[in-house]
């Protein structure tokens, strides 16, 4: 009951603060509008592919598929797609990572795996489209020859085992996801104040003097902060979907799970920082630094190619926003729901570690 009381109090305080709405809602929406509009061309128009695209493939399917694919590649060559066989999968994937080829494709009776370069490369989207076309044609051909087999071919033939192949998101799609991720991580700003705020207001004295436990205060405050941030995320998602037409895919529950796990991560991290840092100024500085660097590296403001192998991309891969962003795009644009589970797990594990740091400090110190 005490947890509920503290939760309700947190909700009242948060929703009565106009600055909270400006910071947590207006700011991401405005940023999404500006960036999404200003960078439209960077995502959609004005891109030409001058050189031939090299694609490696490995055929693990039946003979029939091999024959048909051979014919398909001959036709594709006329359009600038140069296919070469590579039976060693490791070599094929390495060639993609090192940007020697645009993609590595594994053909199988169950589906087509496309090991493409990062989402931000145009080639990946083009090859995705090409292979989708192949899948459709192959499906139709099978229907003509053997209708029974055609029915057995799954609808997501091209997508089931695709790793990096995606529909190409437009700028508004990109920034809708980025802003949602950024907003989730902004929870850190709200959470580092949860206990510092009580100290500033001197109300921590009353909370400690009351017959409640520090744990109840911690959980109540975290629940309040989580609910507020989750609410803002939902508003942002629906706003971007219905006002800007942003794509959120068919697995919204999984998208929300990732974003909520990121909120939990940020809240626990913020609380841990507020306990570890000695002064309110240090807490604020560390939190601001952490959020801004994570946003920057996480591709919130502009897309970052994490597979380029550069030092920058190396650091970018450590940003929780990077892995959350990438997982969300996998789910939204490649229907790859499984990409979400490891990210949720990582977010929750780090949140748990931060939570235990906070609990340890809270238990050790006198007062809040």
């Amino acid at each position: 009951m005490n947890i509920f009381r503290i939760f309700i109090k947190e909700m009242k305080s948060n929703f009565r603060d106009s600055q909270t709405f400006i910071f947590f809602l207006a700011f991401p929406i405005i940023l999404m509008t500006i960036l999404g509009t200003a960078l439209t061309n960077a995502f959609t128009d004005g891109v030409t592919i001058d050189n031939e695209m090299k694609i490696l493939y490995k055929n693990e399917g039946n003979k029939e598929l091999a024959v048909y694919f051979k014919a398909f590649t001959s036709e594709a060559l006329n359009h600038g797609f140069q296919f070469a066989e590579e039976n060693n999968a490791d070599k094929g994937i390495t060639a993609v990572k090192e940007n020697e080829v645009a993609a590595f494709i594994v053909l199988g009776n169950e589906g087509v795996d496309v090991y493409g370069s990062d989402i931000n490369t145009i080639e990946s989207g083009v090859i995705q489209g090409l292979m989708a076309g192949f899948a459709n044609q192959y499906s139709l051909l099978q229907q003509k020859i053997n209708p029974v087999i055609a029915e057995e071919i799954p609808n997501d033939f091209i997508l089931t085992s695709s790793l990096n192949g995606k529909e190409q998101p437009d700028s508004m799609d990109y920034y809708a996801v980025s802003m949602a991720v950024m907003l989730s991580f902004f929870s850190l700003y709200a959470s580092y104040q949860l206990f510092r705020g009580e100290k500033t207001l001197k109300t921590s004295v009353r909370l400690i003097a009351a017959p409640i436990t520090k744990g109840e205060v911690l959980i109540g405050k975290m629940a309040g902060s989580f609910t507020m941030n989750a609410f803002f995320i939902l508003v942002l998602i629906f706003f971007s979907k219905y006002v800007f037409g942003a794509e959120w895919g068919e697995h919204l529950w999984m998208v929300l799970m990732i974003l909520f796990s990121l909120i939990l991560f940020a809240i626990c991290l913020g609380i841990a920082i507020s306990f570890v840092a000695k002064t309110p100024e240090a807490t604020a500085s560390i939190s601001i630094f952490f959020v801004q660097i994570a946003c920057f590296l996480g591709g919130v403001y502009f897309p970052i190619d994490t597979s380029s192998g550069s030092l920058f991309s190396f650091f970018a891969s450590f940003s929780p926003l990077t892995w959350s962003n990438e997982a969300l795009r996998e789910i939204i644009f490649a229907q790859n729901v499984a990409a979400g589970y490891p990210v949720i797990l990582i977010n929750i594990v780090i949140a748990a570690a931060c939570f235990f740091i906070a609990v340890w400090h809270l238990h050790r110190q006198e007062g809040l």
Binding site: R5, S13, L201, K202, T203, R206, I208, P211
Partner: protein
């Protein structure tokens, strides 16, 4: 019946001993004054009673129950009015009182009724739906009290509840304290204003360097220093006056100035008034008035601790 018993209470911060073996018993229905200069250990003692600080050694019992073993019970029966105003600016007055009283286990109609009564009690009954940001300092202080009394505790701890407020609000608060006491509450009251403590407290403890150095009623404390007298000399200009020389006069224990008033504490049995006057004349300091006061709590405090309460 003792509401609160403190035995050999000690608090250490590293090597520093802030409270050193304090023992006290506070009886039901008392207004117990806690006097001590800054850093004397008074707030640390109060914070241990309220459960804000852990006890290094000793024990605190409320209504016979040990704080360490029955923390929830003890806390439930204590109301704390902190020295700093501790309220939420984004909650209305009623919401503030209800939130804090709710943490003490009050629910539903009882919570609502008690919260409204607490606001009425401190004279904020008509401000239930107002936000504290629109309140004066005195009103905030009163809301600070309401938040501590709505759950109807047996013991109320008031730590400097009248700091920085206007005389009207101070009067209201002091009357509220008396009224709470007449309703059956036991109160621990600390203040830097000696006159407040003299006016409302039935018993007083003087704490210095972490120890209780005197305890009793006002009269009992004053009777401890029958060997001292308090001489006040008002001069035209005390700015460059050398207090050290006065301190060396026969029988003088200590000298302090407050504006142009020089306060001399001296042995009661030494007749040194003439000597003091002569010294002022010799130094060509114009005397405006001179009076010998009967000992009061201020005298007692100064005599026992060697410093003024507000030092």
């Amino acid at each position: 019946m003792n509401v609160l018993e403190i035995n050999q209470l000690t608090k250490k911060f590293g090597q520093f001993i802030a409270v050193d073996g304090v023992s006290l018993a506070i009886m039901e229905g008392e207004i117990f004054g806690f006097l001590g200069a800054n850093g004397a250990g008074k707030s640390t003692t109060i914070n241990m009673i309220a459960g804000l600080l852990k006890i290094s050694k000793g024990e605190i019992k409320l209504l016979g129950k040990d704080l360490k073993r029955n923390s929830k019970y003890v806390k439930k029966n204590i109301g704390l009015v902190p020295q700093d105003i501790a309220i939420y600016e984004d909650l209305t007055a009623l919401e503030n009182v209800k939130f804090f009283a709710g943490l003490y286990g009050l629910r539903g109609n009882e919570l609502n009724k008690n919260a409204i009564e607490a606001l009425d009690f401190v004279g904020l009954g008509d401000k239930q739906k107002s936000y504290p940001k629109s309140f004066s300092g005195g009103m905030k202080r009163r809301l600070n009290i309401a938040c501590a009394i709505a759950h109807q505790p047996k013991l109320i701890i008031m730590d400097e509840p009248t700091v920085g407020i206007d005389p009207q609000s101070r009067k209201h608060i002091l009357e509220s304290v008396k009224k709470l006491n007449s309703n059956g509450c036991t109160i621990i009251y600390t203040s830097h204003y000696m006159e407040e403590v003299e006016a409302i407290c039935s018993r007083i403890a003087i704490i210095d360097h972490g120890k209780v150095i005197a305890e009793g009623s006002k009269e009992q404390l004053i009777s401890l220093i029958t060997d001292a007298k308090d001489i006040q000399v008002e001069v035209k200009d005390a700015a460059d006056f050398d207090l050290k020389e006065v301190n060396e006069l026969n029988g003088v224990r200590s000298v302090q100035t407050e504006g142009n008033v020089i306060q001399i504490y001296s042995d009661a049995e030494v007749n040194n008034l003439n000597e003091i006057i002569l010294h002022f004349m010799k130094k060509k300091v114009e005397i405006r008035s001179l009076k010998e006061n009967a000992p009061n709590l201020e005298t007692v405090f100064l005599t026992l601790t060697g410093r003024k309460l507000r030092d």
